[in-house]
Assembly symmetry: C2
């Protein structure tokens, strides 16, 4: 006789939910199905959809939780790297690695305001590192945004469906077809694109703002 815990009504002696558990469950759903609904999330947590509203502000609130899950997984340690360009590269690489682990979350996070403490601290530190390297505040955000835009774009590339290109009948594009065929497999390809772009962007920035001293 399996004892199924029946919840009849009223407040439980100990809360069944908390924001952390909700966030984890939501991330799991998105990883698996590419999206989530409140009923599905509630089912995964063994509660009613309405219960979620005691902990988060509706669907939008759950998306906030997803953003927190992602932010918390980022690693700010590389920012202590001695060379500022390598520090930035290291942090953005970790940034992108987290997205790589959860590619299907990216499209859900493309529009919103950043309030994550961890992310804000990381950016604050990067601005400081840039200032130390002689880069003025007016340019700091531009530089960081250039790199970030590239990271976000690359993360979306990871979330993209397997077949990204579909040349319709009647349209001939032999050069493109050949180039597509010459590409490595998806996952490896995305990694390579990211690594090349990131390295190059930062090398370029380093060159422009802090040319390495001549021996």
């Amino acid at each position: 006789m399996t004892q199924i815990t029946q919840r009849r009504a009223g407040r439980p002696r100990k809360a069944l939910l908390d924001r952390q558990r909700i966030g984890e469950a939501a991330l799991e759903l998105v990883d698996r199905y590419g999206d989530f609904t409140l009923p599905a999330l509630a089912r995964a947590l063994g509660v009613q959809p309405a219960s979620l509203y005691h902990h988060v502000d509706g669907r939008g609130g759950v998306i906030e939780l997803l953003r927190e899950q992602i932010s918390d997984a980022m690693d700010p340690a590389p920012l202590d790297e001695e060379r500022w360009d390598l520090a930035l590269a290291g942090f953005f690489r970790s940034y992108r690695d987290v997205f790589a682990a959860h590619p299907r979350v990216v499209p859900l996070l493309t529009t919103a305001t950043i309030r994550s403490e961890r992310v804000i601290r990381a950016y604050d530190k990067m601005v400081i590192r840039l200032a130390d390297a002689g880069i003025p505040a007016e340019q700091a955000m531009t530089i960081l945004t250039v790199v970030e835009n590239f990271v976000i774009g690359s993360a979306l590339d990871l979330a993209a469906p397997e077949v990204m290109w579909e040349i319709p009948e009647g349209v001939d594009a032999p050069a493109l077809a050949a180039a597509l065929a010459a590409q490595p497999a998806t996952a490896k390809r995305a990694d390579e694109v990211f690594e090349q772009g990131l390295t190059r962007l930062l090398a370029m920035l380093a060159e422009e703002f802090a040319p390495r001293d001549p021996e």
Copy 2:
């Protein structure tokens, strides 16, 4: 006495809808409200939601139409530019300009397969231009994707809400706050970030693959 044309039932003598009109109306809705629903789209076109299904495959089909609207607005002319790096820069600039004119569409297009004839022809041409410049097919897609990822990221930056950063109480991030304050206004800022990033990426690529001949 305004004569309101009442549609009672049955097939009209001349079709009320076509894909072009649906696409235009959808784009207008997204530009204005940031999203669309089939009922709202139908209302804007003066028909019933079910009528749309005679022309497009549901909501996903309308998103395809949005993509076509965007693709058709892109200008492939810059690809005939003499220098290949300037050709690519010109095309991607036009690519991004279209997104700049319709920033709120971008989040709707982040996941999907590219079938647009215009886009495919443009990429085909770019691969050819790269090949002419001595860049092998295996590397062509990597290069194009690096640049495209940056363009998409920048386009999303345009779609972002006015306040992108919100430093919560208790968290102090003085350097970041100062850098944010030193930024130019949103629209101009995004333009600047894009232009700098694009120019730098391509200059870098040009340097690496086809160093300009020494005078």
